[in-house]
């Protein structure tokens, strides 16, 4: 399946300062629409309404963490095909491998460089597009 240009991104993180930085960082290219929210349950509701092209998920969040949110997405026909990238400090090779095994498209390690983040996300989207 050919993927279109990346236009809408949802970022989910319970840390408000990191949400703000990610939103600013992803706004740098000027052509991405970014939404943020602070929990997995809120993310699922937003996804059903707006169907983002890509979801960036923090891993450690209270109540519903990143992997639980991804599992709920994969079990929901309307959300199952939305690619998910984890943004996490849990980025040891075995941890990354575990995230890929449960269905993540990729992992961006925290701490991240705010000046490079948009390029990292766009590169990941390009790889996904080429993988078809």
């Amino acid at each position: 399946m050919e993927r279109a240009l990346l236009q809408n991104v949802l970022y989910v993180d319970d840390e408000p300062h990191i949400r703000e930085i990610v939103e600013m960082a992803l706004s740098l290219p000027g052509d991405l629409s970014i939404q943020t929210c602070d929990s997995g349950s809120q993310a699922l509701a937003l996804m059903r309404e707006q169907r983002p092209d890509l979801v960036l998920l923090d891993v450690m969040m209270p109540d519903m963490d990143g992997p639980a949110t991804l599992a709920r997405m994969r079990a929901d026909a309307a959300l199952a095909s939305i690619p998910v990238v984890f943004m996490t400090a849990k980025a040891m090779p075995h941890e990354v491998s575990g995230f890929l095994q449960i269905g993540a498209t990729g992992v961006i390690a925290k701490p991240f460089d705010p000046m490079r983040l948009a390029d990292q996300v766009l590169e990941m989207w390009q790889r996904l597009a080429h993988a078809g």
């Binding site: 960082a25 000027g30 701490p111 705010p114 000046m115």
Partner: protein, 123 residues
């Protein structure tokens, strides 16, 4: 005249610096939590070490983003030690010693960075 991306980067850098000050202030406050977690763990409360893992995970994941690689690194070290403690018998003297040393290193680094930035926990 700067283009939108250049001015956006300047605004982002400025905001990262502002939030870095807030990060330091909050993290100075969390040193009390870290100390309390260690004390509670030494007293036999396993839940306290899980809380220590959460606090240090946050500091680890946030520190470098706001320009504090040393804090991020020492928080990561303490996070790893907390995970190791969760897999070890409570009261393991080697783990306790390593946790205390890790907490000291993180505390010293946070205090050093806060002093350099002129930040105190009172704001």
């Amino acid at each position: 005249m700067p283009d939108d991306r250049t001015s956006g980067k300047a605004a982002l850098q400025e905001r990262v610096a502002q939030l870095g000050q807030q990060f330091l202030r909050r993290t100075l406050g969390e040193l009390v939590t870290i100390r309390e977690c260690l004390d509670a763990y030494i007293a036999g409360d396993v839940g306290a070490i899980a809380q220590l893992e959460r606090v240090t995970h946050r500091i680890h994941g946030t520190g470098l983003t706001f320009g504090f690689p040393g804090i991020s690194q020492y928080a990561a070290d303490l996070e790893r030690l907390a995970k190791a403690a969760l897999r070890s018998p409570i009261g393991d003297p080697e783990i306790l010693e390593r946790l205390a040393a890790g907490a000291r290193r993180l505390t010293d680094e946070i205090a050093r960075a806060a002093k350099a930035a002129g930040v105190s926990s009172q704001g």
